[in-house]
Symmetry: C2
Subunit: 414 residues, 2 copies
C-alpha cells in the first residue's frame, strides 16, 4: 500500500520553545520499524493540567489512568506511545500504565500520579511495557526545548503529516504562548474529545479554570469533526499550564468574573489552537481528498443544528458523492431527513459553495449547476443547509469517503 | 463501471400465481435505457392493505400519498417506478402522484385513493409523469398472473439481482399463499421500513390485523438490517390481502384473541417472507462481498442489545476489517463502546464464527486464531457479543464495506 501525504496537508507550524516544557522522541520498537514511537515531555514543577477523554464505554487503560491522575490537578510528565493502544488488555494494561508512570516518575523525580499516559494503535494486544521502560532513560536524557516536531512525529499512526499549532495570547498585558500537537486520521468521531492531542501553555492558570476552558474549546473544535463516525477508545486531549510566564496572577473564581475578563484573549487563542489541530486531523482523515465544511442554520436549537450537521457529515452516501465531485443535494436532503431532528421538507434549503440549489422543498427555478460543479472540484467543499425553522446553528467539518479509506482499513492490522 | 451480480446473491424463488393479483412491467424511459422501469399490479376488489414507511423527516411525495391512501384500508392497484424517487420535488411531486393514481384508477375502474404509488431512484429531479401515463395503458393490458419476475426486475435500481420470496401458511386448515418482492441495495438503514417491498397474500384479513402483523414483522426483519446507515426518503413496505382464498372468516378483534390463534401460522410465515426479502437486500448491499450476522446477548434490555448490534453493524472500521478478512475484534470493542448503551469493558466477550476471542475484558488465554481466520474467508461471517450484564438480546444483519461501495456511489448520479 502506498502511503502518500494527504493532499489536504498543511505546512507544519514550527513551534518555538515554551518555558517549562522539554520534550523528545525515541524508537522503542513497540510495533513499527525504523521510526520513533515513544514520546515524552517533562513539565516544570507547579504545572497544572486539565483533560477530556473519550465517552466510550470501553475506554483504554491509559484513559482510566489519566482520569485518576487528573484528580491531583498537577503534572510533571507525559508519556505517549504509538503502535499499541493498550485497550481491552485487562490487568496487564493497568500494570503497564503503572509501570510506565513509575519509570518516568523516577527519572523526573515526581510522583507516578503526576505522570500522564496516552497510547494509540492496535486494540487488544498487550503493550510490552518493558520496551517503554528500556527506552525511557535514554529518551529522558535527550529531552530538549525544541523537540516539538519530534514529538508531533512520534505519536503518528496512520497520520500522513505531523500536526502542530501555536498562538500567542495576552494576559494582563503580558504575552503567553499556547502550543499543541495532535495525532489522528481514522476512528475519528463526534461528540467526544477525539484522538490524542497535547496542548501546552506557559501561562499560570489554576486547574479548575483550565478545565472549564478546555471543555468549552473541545466542544467547539474536536467535537465538531468526524472522519468516519467511529469513536475511539483512546480519545484524549490534555492541556498543561507550566506557569512560567510573567503575567499578573489569575484571581480565584468568585462572583466578579475577574478571571474570565483576564482570560478573554487566552480563551480565544486556545480555541484557535484547538480548532487548528482538529481541522488538521480531518485534513489527514484516512483517504481524504477533500475537506468538507457543513453549516446548518435555521434549526430549532444549536443542539439540533449540530445533530443535523453530523448526520450529513457521517453519511456514507454524502461523503462518496463529494469524493465523486457530484453535487448530489438529494443525498443531503436524505441525511437531513434521517437525523431525527425537527425538519420540514417544504422549508428546507440546500446550497453548495455559496450557491443555493434547493429552496423551500424543491430545486431553485433556473438553477445553473456550473458554479457548483466548479466548487466541487476544489479541495475544500462548503455545504449550507437552512432548515427554516428557528435560530439554531452549527458548523462541523468532515472529509470525503474514498477508496483510500478502504485501502487503509481493509489491511491495517494484518 | 462493471456491474456484476453480488457474490452473495441467492437463486430467485419462482412465485406461482396468487389469486387476486395480476402484474407486469414496461419500459417507460424514465431514466434507464433498454430495461423496464415501470411496474403495475392490479388487485381484486375487496383487497385490504397495510403499510409502513420511512421515518425520515423528508419523505418523498409517494410516501405522503400512500399514508393518506392507507386511511381507506382498501387497495386496487400499485404503480411503482424506478430511476426517479420523486423526492424533494415540491408541488410537482404531489401532482405527479395524483396524475399517476388517476391514470391507473381509470384503467382499473376504482378510486385514485385505492391506487398505491412508490418511486425509487434519484432524489430532487421532477418525475416526468407524462411518461408514466403514456406507458400505463399498454402495461395494464398486459398484466398477468405470472408476471412476478417481471415485477421484481422492473423495480431494481443499483440492485444486482431480483428479490422474491414465497411461503404457504394455513388458516383454519386451509392453505393460503404469501408472496413478496423487494428492491434495495444502498441507502439502507435501520429502524425504519426500509426500501421498497410489496407483499401479497390471498388470505382475507381485515386491514387493522394486517397492520399489526406487518409492523411486528418489519421490526424483526427490515428494521434489523443495514447496508450503509443511510435511511432512505422512500422506504415503503406494503402488504396486500386479496381475500380470494377459501378459509374460515377471521373474527373481528375482541378480548378472546380468537383471531390471534387462527393467524399464528400466517404470522410465522409472513415473518419468514419479510426476513427472507430483508436479507436478500443485505446480500445485494452495494459492493457487498460478505453477509454479516451480529448476535448480541447479555444486554440490559432487548432495545439496548439492538442498539449495540447496530453500532457494530454500522461501523465503517468493523465493516472494512471484515472486507479485509481481518478478525479485528478490537474494532468490535470500539463499536460496542461508542454505542452509548450500558456496557462494562471487563465483562465483555467477543467471538467470531463460534470461537470466543476475548472474554471478560481481555484476550482469551491461548487464543488460537486459526479457525477464526478460516471463518473470515467465507461469504457469511458471524459475530457474537456477550455484554455479560442481563438477558437482553438482538440479532442484526449487515454486509462488509468494500471498494465496490465507493465505485457505485462516487458515480451514481453523473
Amino acid at each position: 500500500m502506498d502511503v502518500q501525504v494527504s493532499p489536504l496537508a498543511v505546512a507544519m507550524a514550527e513551534l518555538p520553545p515554551l518555558a517549562g516544557v522539554r520534550l523528545g522522541s525515541a524508537a522503542a520498537g513497540i510495533r513499527y520499524q525504523g521510526r520513533t514511537d515513544l514520546v515524552m515531555a517533562e513539565l516544570a514543577p507547579g504545572t497544572t493540567v486539565a483533560g477530556v477523554f473519550t465517552r466510550s464505554q470501553c475506554p483504554g487503560a491509559p484513559v482510566d489512568w489519566c482520569r485518576a491522575a487528573l484528580r491531583g490537578g498537577k503534572a510533571r510528565a507525559v508519556v505517549v506511545n504509538a503502535g499499541n493502544a493498550n485497550v481491552f488488555t485487562g490487568r496487564a494494561g493497568r500494570e503497564t500504565c503503572a509501570a510506565t508512570a513509575e519509570a518516568a516518575a523516577a527519572l523526573v523525580g515526581c510522583k507516578p500520579r503526576e505522570v500522564f499516559i496516552a497510547s494509540t494503535g492496535v486494540i487488544g494486544e498487550v503493550l510490552p511495557h518493558e520496551r517503554l521502560a528500556a527506552a525511557l532513560p535514554g529518551l529522558h536524557g535527550r529531552l530538549r526545548e525544541d523537540g516539538w516536531e519530534d514529538a508531533a512525529r512520534g505519536i503518528m499512526t496512520t497520520d500522513t503529516f505531523p500536526k502542530t499549532a501555536t498562538r500567542t495570547a495576552r494576559i494582563g498585558g503580558e504575552e503567553v504562548r499556547i502550543s499543541g500537537i495532535a495525532k489522528g486520521s481514522g476512528m475519528i468521531a463526534p461528540d467526544m474529545a477525539t484522538m490524542l492531542s497535547f496542548v501546552f501553555t506557559d501561562a499560570k492558570i489554576p486547574a479548575d479554570l483550565l478545565d472549564t476552558m478546555l471543555r468549552k474549546g473541545v466542544e467547539g473544535s474536536f467535537n465538531r469533526t468526524t472522519v468516519d463516525s467511529d469513536t475511539s477508545t483512546s480519545d484524549t486531549v490534555l492541556l498543561f499550564a507550566t506557569g512560567q510566564a510573567k503575567h499578573p496572577r489569575i484571581p480565584a473564581r468568585d462572583g466578579s468574573n475577574a478571571a474570565g475578563r483576564m482570560l478573554g484573549d487566552f480563551r480565544a487563542k486556545l480555541d484557535e489552537v484547538l480548532l487548528d489541530l482538529a481541522l488538521q486531523v480531518v485534513r489527514d482523515g484516512e483517504g481524504a481528498q477533500k475537506l468538507v465544511r457543513i453549516d446548518v442554520t435555521g434549526a430549532v436549537s444549536a443542539k439540533s443544528a449540530k445533530r443535523v450537521a453530523m448526520a450529513v457529515a457521517n453519511s456514507p452516501l454524502v461523503k462518496t458523492a463529494i469524493a465523486g465531485e457530484d453535487a448530489n443535494w438529494g443525498r443531503i436532503v436524505m441525511a437531513v431527513g434521517k437525523a431525527g431532528e425537527p425538519a420540514d421538507r417544504d422549508r428546507l434549503s440546500v446550497g453548495v459553495g455559496g450557491t443555493w440549489m434547493a429552496r423551500d422543498g424543491g430545486v431553485v427555478p433556473g438553477y445553473d449547476e456550473t458554479p457548483v460543479v466548479e466548487h466541487m472540484k476544489g479541495r475544500e467543499v462548503d455545504i449550507a443547509i437552512d432548515l427554516g425553522l428557528g435560530g439554531g446553528k452549527a458548523t462541523v467539518w468532515t472529509c470525503d469517503l474514498t477508496h483510500g479509506y478502504i485501502d487503509i482499513n481493509g489491511s491495517y492490522r494484518s
